[in-house]
Point group: C2
Chain length 127, copies 2
DNA sequence: ACTTGTCAACGAAATATTTCGTATTTTAGT
DNA sequence: ACTAAAATACGAAATATTTCGTTGACAAGT
């Protein structure tokens, strides 16, 4: 039983995944237009990246229409876990606590967000 | 007044920075030995990387002795903030809350760690 | 002085990532 | 049927990253 083993997305690939997560299935043009607002990018550049991502298994594409439609293969959560775990190992000595504490102290978080986080903490404690 | 603008470390560079943060100033050999436990690496490979890092300003080196001694240029916290902010933008749509919640839910965190995190939350609320 | 081991310097190969130009196909409008 | 617009495929250049072999300098012990 072979697990396909999807590689970690590169920086550029992650930017594209972010768009697909937010907007759902998209064409290359849609992705390129969104991307270009952040960083002007040629159409074929985006196309090529998305083709490579399809080869890697990062996205799946529907080729049934003339204009292909792409969507992220893995759910947002799974990729976020992977990236977070990776960063935790590499930059935080494997400590989730350090990572969370730094994220909390470094960034401004609203009262509502704090409440949600506290609720999550309580749930975890309860287990 | 030009700010040097230190670039984001690559994957391999980050592994070296992690060692320098943990152990303090090190020679290339010390770093290479530690690195080789995680991932066997040739001495000159590590040397070259650290030389490049010195050029980029990621590390500073003391050349006064025959054997150079390197240390991280930026404090651990600053680089962690940079990387976390970067990941937050790229993979979490800029939401610190999402990032924290995911880190909390995905990884096992001890009771002691939870307590520290709660304390941090209370401090932030108090401000 | 000679040998041996350790080190930095350097260049270059190997690999990965990003960007884009060109060719071809398809669709829609005239 | 012809043309223009829009799309994919492909290849290759440009850049960034990683790895390592070779060389020459230095240092310690003999």
């Amino acid at each position: 039983m072979v697990k396909p083993k999807i590689p970690k997305p590169t920086e550029s690939e992650l930017a594209i995944l972010g768009i697909l997560w937010e907007k759902g299935p998209c064409t290359v043009r849609q992705v390129n237009e969104t991307l270009s607002k952040q960083q002007p990018t040629g159409y074929t550049t985006t196309l090529k990246l998305m083709q490579i991502m399809a080869e890697k298994g990062l996205v799946v594409r529907d080729q049934s229409q003339r204009t292909h439609v792409y969507q992220a293969h893995l759910p947002e959560e799974q990729t976020q876990n992977q990236l977070l775990g990776d960063l935790m190992d590499k930059a935080f000595g494997g400590s989730a606590e350090k990572l969370v504490l730094r994220a909390l102290s470094a960034k401004k978080i609203s009262a509502g967000e704090l409440a949600k986080i506290k609720q999550m903490l309580t749930e975890i404690e309860g287990k």
